[in-house]
């Protein structure tokens, strides 16, 4: 592989009829890194990943996966890549083992079956159950096993922990870190900031088909927006609170005040110490709300 990136995307554009899904995506994923691909629903994450496997064809732009153009040699790309789709559908009549053996056949039977059993055991997955009887979370585990079982050089995972409980999510993070330690590159999409923060070495943020930012996971905290509802014991003047840097008033209803806080909440907590507070509730905003607020601020600053 040398020094070439695991994934190299230049000016990638893709539209579905009149809907422009990607508008010139530029992105590079280094070999051996875990890159989190963060964006709200419909931002273009899945479309980008599917272009990498030649499942869909872009209207413009170039793509190189492990140094190969997937349009020219898709089989060579796919033989070195493990893929987990965002919407996982499997043949219902087969058992878990039947599905995995079929995928192994497609890979020329080069999967070590002992490793499959080990993965299934770690994810607490029963191989003998028919797919049609599996819950969404268990189907997701089948998807993860099939993506990992050939020990691919590159993992393309679309929302890898979707439908999994928090304990299983942690196990998936461990599996992906192990894959990375064994030399694999991981490119995963998510719309959960905390997941990307926990797993990724680097984060690319996509919005409306364009990469808007490539950042370190630590700086995602800056993107973090919280909504804090404070109930006071008696009516108070909240002016000193809403004048704090990064704090804005959302609503006021009698003795209850809701504010939005950008970044760390330290200043607000210290300021609240001077008030007769009876209750505080904190709520993390969804990625869509964060994006809306964050990029609205960005646009204003640019102006």
């Amino acid at each position: 592989m040398g020094g070439s990136p695991a994934i190299e995307i230049r000016g990638l554009s893709k539209s579905y009829g009149r809907v422009q899904a990607l508008r010139g995506v530029d992105l590079e994923v280094k070999c051996g890194e875990i890159l989190g691909f963060l964006g709200p629903n419909g931002a273009g994450k899945t479309t980008t990943i599917r272009c990498l496997l030649d499942l869909i064809r872009p209207q413009a732009g170039t793509v190189r996966v492990l140094g190969i153009d997937p349009r020219k040699d898709p089989v060579a790309v796919r033989s070195r890549v493990g893929y987990l789709p965002g919407e996982l559908n499997l043949e219902g009549n087969l058992t878990v083992e039947g599905v995995l053996r079929y995928f192994n056949d497609l890979r020329g039977r080069r999967v070590e079956w002992g490793y499959v059993r080990q993965l299934a055991s770690r994810l607490d997955l029963n191989l003998s159950i028919p797919i049609k009887n599996l819950s969404k979370g268990n189907k997701q585990k089948v998807g993860l096993v099939q993506a990992l079982m050939a020990r691919p050089e590159l993992l393309l995972l679309d929302e890898p922990t979707s439908g999994l409980d928090p304990l299983m999510q942690q196990e998936v993070y461990r599996l992906l870190r192990e894959a990375q330690a064994n030399g694999a590159t991981v490119f995963f999409s998510s719309h959960v900031i905390s997941e990307v923060e926990a797993l990724a070495d680097r984060v690319a943020i996509i919005r409306e088909g364009v990469i808007v930012e490539e950042v370190e996971p630590g700086s995602l905290t800056d993107l973090s927006l919280r909504r804090i509802r404070v109930r006071f014991r008696e009516p108070v003047d909240v002016k000193p609170l809403v004048e704090l840097d990064g704090v804005s008033l959302v609503a006021r209803d009698g003795r209850e005040v809701t504010v939005q806080v950008e970044g760390e909440v330290d200043r607000l907590i210290k300021a609240l110490a001077a008030f007769p507070v009876s209750d505080i509730q904190t709520q993390h905003l969804s990625l869509e709300e964060v994006f809306l607020a964050y990029y609205r601020v960005g646009e204003k600053e640019e102006r």
């Binding site: 499942l55 869909i56 893929y83 919407e87 559908n89 499997l90 099939q146």
Partner: protein, 283 residues
């Protein structure tokens, strides 16, 4: 390609066993009934009681007491309609059904080429149809000696070849339509309508001579049925097989050059082509 071929056969295992048993059982029953038909005296007189249009529609009713005529009337005259159901549903759903269910996305993310996937599956369907026909052939061959069915196994095999060719043709047509219309079931329905329509027109053309020239442009005109026992029309058989392969080849080209959907049905291709053309004109 081999993995997909084997997988297709594995998936069709149930339908193949069911259809093979059904076709074989029917063939066996019909073969066992041959002596009673053979013994009917004055068959022509008996047939004259039927309306003329009916005897004309089913061409070989008068030859029913001969092994060839019997085989044609009781098996090959409509077996392409019966097994056609499986051929058409199999062809229409070969790729499109998996795509609609969102299965194809992950399959094609594995190291299998679209060409390998397409032809592996098509070959699997062809072999599945051949296995059903083989069961049908055996059902006539095995009791032939004991019921006085004076045809050799090879002679009985001959009409199965055009039957296979015509089934493959309609499977390929359904496959091609599944690449053009929004859903596998629409492709199946359209192809089924073509098959049934063609069957009725061929029958009507036996009554109305004016239809005869038009029939040359329809696939069932080149389907020999039981008459192949007397001699196989090689060019008709070859033509049907070639047409089936051509239809499949066009479907393959369309499959090579299009996006794979995540799931669900798609929109019509033809209006999209029209829009592309308009955009090019504007550009």
């Amino acid at each position: 390609m081999l993995a997909e071929f084997k997988h297709t056969l594995r998936r069709l295992r149930g339908p193949v066993v069911g259809w093979a048993l059904g076709v074989a059982l029917y063939g066996l029953l019909m073969a066992l009934m041959f002596p009673s038909i053979k013994q009917i005296e004055n068959l022509e007189e008996f047939m004259s009681l039927y309306p003329e249009e009916m005897t004309a529609f089913f061409e070989n009713l008068y030859a029913m007491a001969t092994p060839m005529g019997y085989l044609d009337v009781y098996f090959f005259a409509y077996m392409h309609l019966v097994i056609g159901i499986l051929a058409i549903s199999g062809g229409a759903g070969l790729l499109a059904a998996d795509e609609e269910r969102g299965i194809l996305d992950l399959v094609l993310a594995h190291p299998v080429s679209r060409t390998g996937l397409f032809w592996g599956r098509f070959l699997g369907l062809a072999v599945a149809l051949a296995l059903i026909l083989a069961a049908g052939w055996l059902s006539w061959v095995l009791p032939a000696g004991s019921v006085g069915f004076e045809l050799t196994p090879f002679e009985i095999l001959l009409p199965f070849l055009p039957l296979f060719a015509v089934l493959l043709f309609f499977a390929a047509l359904a496959l091609l339509l599944s690449m053009l219309v929004p859903a596998a079931r629409s492709a199946g329905m359209l192809t089924g309508a073509v098959l049934v329509g063609n069957f009725l027109l061929i029958g009507l053309s036996n009554i109305n001579d004016d239809l005869e020239p038009l029939m040359k442009f329809t696939p069932l005109y080149y389907y020999q049925g039981g008459l192949a026992v007397e001699g196989l029309e090689g060019s008709w058989l070859g033509g049907l097989l070639l047409a089936a392969l051509l239809l499949a080849a066009v479907a393959w080209l369309l499959f090579l050059h299009r996006d794979i959907r995540v799931g669900g049905e798609r929109s019509w291709v033809l209006p999209r082509i029209g829009r592309r053309f308009r955009l090019r004109q504007r550009g």
